[in-house]
Symmetry: none
Subunit: 306 residues, 2 copies
DNA sequence: CTAGCATTATGCAAAAAATGCATAAGATAT
DNA sequence: ATATCTTATGCATTTTTTGCATAATGCTAG
């Protein structure tokens, strides 16, 4: 069965004349005749009354024509819907995955900045472990993962179809409560035997992977004693402000506290850990919307955050 | 466009394998590949995700397949009617009018069930807007109109010679994709600030008239954010199965998905919208055939659908 | 990471189908 | 009845589709 057959029938119904209908349909009259015949054979009945001029559709012909119009309308409608959905991708929900720490602070600000220059998108955020996020990405449950990277720990996939671009930077610095004169409550220089209390991220916290290498390479184990442990940066921040100890915290998180004098930087200038905020995607799972976003971000390198 | 293309697509969807599907369709694998490609070119989109084995239809592919099934069912139905009418000449042709959504889904099944108990009738279906259908009925162009009714929206005429009997029931329930443990992906209970993505019927869709009153009376606007909008229930169903959000869909449409665990009910038990499928007639326009049908249906109240 | 297996895509010649031309057959009107 | 218009048919040609062989690609197990 061929759509063309029904288009022919429709034209024939309009013109009432094989030759003219054939001309309009851009085929020869014999070919046109044969197509109508093919349709009649397929349906199993005469659809055209040729005994009269101009020829007229039989009741059966009228019914089939009507039905075919409805049927192909249905298909055409769906076709249009699909094409529209593709050209108006704004309806697609882009799913981001991120560790709690990023999702909590970086993501909202970044999304705001991104939408300001790119335009609004419909998005949701799934906050979870980094490992879970990446897993979900490879299961195609989420489109992008936002993760920290440092010189010590890269998230690049091992042969997996994973790509990354940097969408922001941050750094971890050791901070603590200031004395009244603004000097750090815990200055490493003054430590002979006594160790400095350390507010540490839990072993399970992803950020630990970035901090531990520094602690080891700088031999800081000798100078620190764990005073508190929590995997949420917010909790460490509160303890640091209270003066419980020293914590390596993301600058983006504590910038307000530094300005307000609630926290000060301590320790050595070199004990700073540069972090890149990376957007990861699974190359094998893209669509118009996510490709556009990716291309946009890849060409801009970085969007300044407010 | 060729019917064979869609049959191929349907087979491919079933087997998930080009070679096997080709074999079943009695054609070589290269030819099969090219036919699928031809269909994709015609629609203008990739319809099959070949990156995975077994291959799967893309959402667009699913949508097109669904539409094609409905469309060709319509044509086959008409074909059958015509052949039957030929063997029983001079019979009155009963004309039904229905909205597209009913015409595509409910009507064929209902007519089948009706004919099983009543005996074969010769009929045609005119699919159109509800308003147009009713208009046509009062113009005596069609004998019966089939329409949805809910507590929120009755089609009873205002002083017009219009009667109605219920010939079926259905209900709309909110559904979404299940988690691995079978719980709803989007459970309203867990939402404090975050809104649940809503797959909504377009404003123009007739079914919206039944859903909107519930949304308003239950204050659901606060809990829902529109994630996708389409006037075809099939499109919403696909999105729901993908996990894009929550949709209110007719039970008759999604019963198979619920059984297969592709969708689960979510939200409150009370957020269910009962629909009656009503047969309407114009009292001033009857004849022997239509009066008999009416009397038959009126005394039976309801014919169970398969 | 690679070899081996399975699946899909492509080049090309052969087969099938549709088309156009010329013309026959049929219908209409004067 | 015949001139004229319209549709159907035979046949060579063109276009399309198909199958075969094979290349490219994807998946899996060692």
């Amino acid at each position: 069965m061929d759509l063309a057959w029904f288009k022919d029938l429709g034209q024939l119904s309009k013109t009432g004349n094989f030759s003219q209908a054939a001309q309009i349909r851009n085929i020869s009259q014999p070919a046109f005749s044969r197509r109508i015949k093919a349709l009649e054979t397929w349906v199993g009945t005469k659809l055209v009354d040729r005994t009269r001029h101009p020829v007229k559709l039989t009741p059966a012909g009228e019914q089939m024509l009507e039905a075919s119009k409805q049927a192909f309308e249905r298909i055409e409608f769906e076709k249009k819907q699909i094409i529209e959905a593709q050209s108006l991708p704004d309806k697609y929900i882009v799913t981001f995955g991120a560790q709690h720490s990023i999702g909590w602070r970086f993501f909202p600000a970044w999304l705001q900045a991104f939408e300001d220059v790119y335009g609004a998108i419909i998005s949701t955020l799934r906050a979870d472990d980094l490992a879970n996020c990446i897993d979900a990405m490879h299961k195609h449950e989420i489109d992008f993962v936002i993760a920290y990277e440092s010189a010590y720990s890269r998230n690049r996939g091992e042969g997996l179809a994973r790509e990354a671009i940097r969408i922001g930077t941050d750094f971890l610095i050791p901070v603590c409560k200031p004395n009244l004169d603004g000097t750090p409550l815990y200055a490493f220089s003054s430590s002979k035997g006594s160790k400095v209390p350390w507010l540490r991220f839990g072993e399970s916290a992803p950020i630990t992977k970035h901090i531990n290498p520094l602690i080891e390479s700088a031999g800081l184990q000798e100078k620190l004693s764990v005073a508190y442990e929590n995997s949420m940066s917010g909790a460490l921040r509160i303890r640091a402000r209270e003066g419980t100890g020293v914590a390596w915290l993301p600058y983006s998180l504590i910038a307000p506290d530094l300005e307000a004098g609630l926290l000060v930087r301590t320790g050595n200038e070199e004990w700073k850990i540069d972090l890149d905020v990376m957007l990861l995607r699974d190359k094998s799972h893209t669509n118009t919307v996510t490709r556009r976003i990716w291309a946009f971000l890849a060409t801009r390198q970085q969007i300044p955050l407010i």
